[in-house]
């Protein structure tokens, strides 16, 4: 009787799956090691599956994308504009007028999660904010020769091992890199390296490459956390037409 009692005590302390692995050691599920139940899922074509609802683990990057990064060296005009925006407490930023924050700022709002839907030829990011979406083309296409700048740009993705590398150009210079006012020019190229390290976290290294605004590219590691068992709602910034109230 005593032995059984000891065994049941142990059972309470060990996760059920580990016990199952111990008993049924030959099952494929258990073979590579005990942590497989928490492994990052993969798509049928063998890629890590980045699909899910994610939000920034910290609010700091939306406030200040550089987050104290000493490698951020402004071109003079960009420094002046940044200082002006700081002095004005960020007044005039596009999101004040319900306009998109652009890439990468749109990804960074902690209270505005986004959903990533991954297919072999396209990755779509659905935003809670304003019901917008981004397309990242993974079908091998190249950038179009000439497009007018847009709020979210044109994004092409490729896989580098288990990392999705998305490159975005064609961004309008009307957006700010963050709510604090880091400016950019129409030469901006954003590279995002998406790596889902665990089921619950995705690290995205965001590189800002804009020689007109910064003397050299700079990279910020942004962590996103997964939100499970919910779905995106619909929150749209309602605009009051300017001619109302006349």
């Amino acid at each position: 009787m005593r032995r059984i009692s000891w065994a049941s005590d142990i059972m309470k302390r060990i996760p059920a799956r580990r016990i199952a692995c111990g008993l049924l050691i030959a099952l494929p599920l258990c073979r590579p090691g005990g942590a497989q139940a928490r492994a990052v899922p993969r798509t049928p074509d063998g890629r890590p599956d980045l699909s899910g609802i994610w939000r920034s683990a910290s609010a700091r990057y939306l406030t200040d994308l550089s987050a104290g990064n000493a490698r951020v060296v402004f071109q003079p005009w960009a420094r002046t504009l940044y200082d002006e925006r700081r002095a004005g407490n960020g007044k005039g930023r596009p999101s004040e007028r319900c306009l998109p924050r652009g890439v990468p700022a749109m990804m960074l709002a902690r209270d505005e999660p986004w959903k990533l839907v991954q297919t072999p030829r396209i990755v779509v990011i659905l935003f809670h904010e304003s019901l917008h979406y981004r397309q990242i083309f993974t079908d091998g296409r190249t950038f179009p020769d000439e497009t007018a700048p847009t709020w979210l740009g044109y994004s092409i993705g490729r896989w580098d091992g288990d990392t999705l590398v998305a490159e975005t150009t064609g961004l309008t210079d009307k957006t700010w890199l963050d709510e604090g006012g880091h400016p950019h020019s129409d030469a901006l190229r954003v590279v995002e390296r998406f790596h889902r390290g665990t089921v619950g976290t995705m690290d995205v290294a965001v590189t800002i490459d804009d020689p007109k605004a910064y003397t050299r590219p700079w990279t910020v590691p942004v962590r996103f956390e997964r939100i499970a068992n919910v779905d995106l709602g619909e929150r749209v910034c309602a605009v009051v037409p300017a001619n109302d109230g006349k």
Partner: protein
């Protein structure tokens, strides 16, 4: 649409059609011509009578009419088709005829799980009424029996040129209104989720295919909550959970939070998609009514982002 037409030409023709029937979408020109954004409002010019014309000379005649209407910006665009944006993106997965053109009458492709694959970029079929702002909106030809209050609202909106439509404030169109515009949309199909990416306003919609039910606690939204199932080769989508002030079209067919829309998607062949909508809202209509819209496949191209830019466009809004 014949397989020999270029999408660019087709798009220009579509623009001309829309312009010359005085619809709300002259803002479309802003977007495709200068990129990035257009206005949210229902229209930016008063209606002008349709111009009948035969193919070939039609666009030129219509262009001349446009000049006569004094729309210099539009004429500039129309006279410079090269300035209209059209992204060319070669697609490897479209069946093609011997001369390399997409074979739009080939059987609809299928996904690996054997379902019809609805994926692709679609645009409202040519020859359909150019705008749902027209006399009967999407209700043209349908047996629409209003409840008395709804009929009064509908009549008042007609007299006000549709002023007050939610998109004036950059709010989403909702299902049928979003499909009634000339801008294309893209379907991305996976076994458990189907996405509809509307070029207009850069808004998305999700159709859940994983057998889930309607969530118990969920705020009402403009696009509602959509769950799909397959009925043979037809995708059937049930949507409820709408906000209380839906406009089903630019003309102003009202709907309430009781609205239930059933959509039946059928891809006839590579080039053609039909969607039948059943509008069931007992608070606004005495009985359900049906509308079918046809869509043409747009090959070798890509959506162009459009974002509702209110302050720039508010000046274009008309209506009393």
């Amino acid at each position: 649409m014949s397989s020999k037409e270029s999408p660019n030409r087709r798009y220009l023709d579509g623009i001309l059609d829309i312009l010359m029937t005085g619809a709300h979408h002259c803002r479309l020109l802003d977007h495709r011509a200068t990129g990035g954004s257009r206005s949210p409002g229902p229209r930016c010019q008063k209606s002008s009578p349709p111009v009948s014309s035969s193919d070939g000379v039609g666009p030129i005649l219509r262009l001349m009419k446009a000049k006569a209407l004094g729309l210099p910006a539009m004429v500039w665009v129309l006279a410079s088709p090269a300035m209209v944006q059209w992204l060319h993106v070669e697609q490897a997965d479209i069946p093609r005829t011997l001369d390399g053109r997409p074979d739009l009458t080939a059987p609809a492709p299928r996904t690996s799980d054997g379902r019809p694959d609805l994926s692709g970029i679609w645009q409202r079929q040519r020859g359909m009424p150019p705008s749902s702002a027209g006399r009967d909106g999407i209700g043209a030809g349908a047996d629409v029996r209003f409840q008395p209050w709804a009929e009064a609202v509908y009549k008042a909106r007609g007299e006000n040129n549709g002023k007050g439509t939610p998109s004036e404030r950059c709010l989403p169109h909702g299902i049928t209104k979003a499909f009634s515009v000339p801008e294309p949309f893209k379907i991305v199909q996976t076994p458990s989720l189907i996405l509809i990416l509307h070029e207009e306003f850069n808004h998305h919609r999700q159709i859940f295919m994983d057998g889930r039910g309607m969530p118990e606690h969920r705020a009402a939204t403009s696009f509602g909550y959509s769950r799909g199932t397959w009925d043979g080769d037809t995708l059937v989508v049930n949507t409820t959970g709408f906000v209380d002030d839906t406009w089903l079209d630019f003309r102003g067919h009202p709907a309430t939070g009781s609205l239930h829309i059933v959509e039946r998607y059928r891809r006839r062949d590579v080039g053609h998609l039909d969607i039948q909508f059943t509008i069931d809202d007992p608070k606004a209509y005495e009985r359900p009514w049906n509308v079918t819209m046809g869509f043409d496949f747009l090959q070798d191209t890509e959506l162009i982002e459009h974002v509702c830019e209110n302050e720039r466009d508010a000046a274009h809004l008309v209506g009393k």
